[in-house]
Symmetry: C2
Subunit: 339 residues, 2 copies
């Protein structure tokens, strides 16, 4: 008991005499004592570890994940928590594995961009959860999101301010909340500018670079000789990069011939040529906040200053103006023939 009290610092109120304290410290040092975390966890019911569940397919660099994950790791380290990663293949199919993770090895779990399709998914009880970018509300789980509609609307407004009228939108997969919110923002900005919505200028992709490449490349092939859009708003930075690739393949210059914008402001947005104008989501801060909310949920007593919010947390977004957007060319361009 005395050893436990001394070695754990002032966590307990019992008073230990200086003499025995020294005796214990010396013994611990000479034995190079290290507490066993499993035993401590068993007694405490606290692992000081949080889990992060995420779908990683490994096909393409997931910059989104890396940014959020960095934030999670930072916040976890700051609060002396470990972070353990659970990779899933599919949110619905792997729901059983999710239950398996909640066997005491973690104190709480961050669901990173969960897309449960089945209604009434039963999450493990007794394990606190928090979600980031959840695709649909999850009962009793706070979701951390950003004001994507406003971001999309702001970017399209920026296009309009630059003089663009024929504005294309490369969307994400159908049925995704992020996809829908961007479309709403896109349409709202068009309506404000009294630009009629043209369904032919909205083409679906995935969230991947390859998807953006295919979507844009295909459209260019099908529309050779037709008027080129003035500007393209892409559902995220990866898709924007794929779009840049497809445009480069037919010899179009960005932003001289056509403007392109992304969404997210992952670190790649700065390493494209030209650097990408995009909508910044504070992904790292969102990851940090997720950890803080989760810890408050795990131990409300220790986090009275920052209690668990009773509704979703919406982070603001901001436009990041770089080099991939410029006023449209004076002479309207046509789609060049495939090379």
């Amino acid at each position: 008991m005395a050893a436990s009290a001394v070695l754990n610092g002032a966590r307990t109120s019992s008073r230990i005499s200086a003499a025995t304290r020294q005796r214990i410290l010396k013994a611990a040092a000479s034995l190079s004592y290290r507490p066993n975390i499993a035993a401590r966890a068993l007694a405490n019911r606290r692992m000081h570890a949080i889990g992060v569940a995420v779908v990683i397919d490994g096909v393409e660099l997931n910059h989104y994940f890396l940014e959020v994950f960095n934030g999670l790791l930072e916040a976890a380290a700051r609060h002396e928590q470990n972070a353990t990663v659970f990779t899933l293949h599919d949110w619905d199919r792997d729901i059983a594995r999710l239950h398996g993770f909640c066997d005491g090895r973690i104190d709480g779990l961050v669901l990173l961009a969960p897309t449960f399709q089945r209604d009434g998914t039963v999450l493990p009880t007794h394990t606190p959860f928090v979600a980031i970018h959840a695709n649909a509300p999850i009962p009793k789980v706070v979701n951390i999101e950003s004001d994507e509609e406003r971001g999309a609307c702001g970017m399209v407004r920026h296009f309009v301010d630059q003089g663009h009228r024929r504005i294309m939108h490369i969307t994400g997969p159908a049925g995704m909340l992020g996809t829908e919110r961007r479309i709403r923002g896109y349409q709202r900005a068009l309506a404000e500018a009294q630009i009629p919505f043209d369904a032919g200028l909205m083409i679906p992709a995935s969230f991947l670079t390859a998807g953006g490449h295919e979507a844009m490349g295909g459209w260019l092939r099908r529309n050779a000789g037709q008027p080129l859009p003035h500007a393209i708003f892409c559902v995220n930075d990866n898709v924007a990069i794929g779009c840049l690739e497809a445009l480069a393949e037919v010899g179009l210059r960005v932003p001289e011939d056509i403007s392109v914008a992304g969404f997210d402001d992952t670190l790649v947005a700065r390493s494209t040529v030209p650097q990408l104008t995009t909508v910044r989501q504070p992904l790292r801060a969102m990851g940090q906040r997720a950890v803080e909310v989760l810890l408050a949920k795990i131990d409300p007593g220790a986090h009275k200053d920052a209690p668990v919010p009773d509704q979703n947390i919406v982070f603001p977004v901001e436009l990041v103006l770089r080099d991939s957007v410029a006023p449209p060319p004076v002479v309207a361009r046509l789609v060049p023939p495939p090379r």
Copy 2:
């Protein structure tokens, strides 16, 4: 005892009658029993978790980490292990934290690109380790590396085959093994081609995109009007991207005016314009192998088919030829003035 035997499958040899087996199974189901991992770990001395220690500064996207980490996660999942990430700031300063991690929460630890500078660093005993891309030998720790010197040599040979003679090398930080091995390969290929080594064509950078950008940008500014190199071999893909940025800033085209190659073949190498010619290290496979070696070290009995090797594991590298290398221009170029 019976419950444990039944619920753990055939792990033990004791025979349980079908009747009690059913009774146990039914009870477990009706209670929706989940074993507590901490208690199991305490009894077993096995957490079924491996740790990954890595320095992440968070300033720049670490594609290298993401690739290796993906391999680690895949292999860990395949062997039913969790992977928990420990982020360090500095290998030497955080050695105490490293000891702290070895408190039973993990069964073994992967050191990802450790750079211990102090000699005789004392790693925790009783915890199995494996290293990837260690900067120096660590006693009793298998290191997983690749044949970087051969890769560097091969890439510079490729330059020579294309007709390049003035070949620049943007190196990594001094004192790093990876830096030195690439320099050795670079110099060997030059010697083979009887191209005299020119110290003015070897400029140091970091491992980061910003480092490549600065190094190349600075050199171009200092050498305006001088002959331009034919080709540039960069210490890794990130640096190559920074180099591409700096070249674009002064209006140089790759590969028409100058050729550029990277090293690693991280996924970004395919998303630059032009796509990057580079040396492929099988980073994902190296991550996977690290897990396998570690598991064999943790439990040699269960891995008799793949015992722990008694020396370092060296993966082969290969040249990946994309679009950033071409024969040099017919008319020699000069370094353009800064814009």
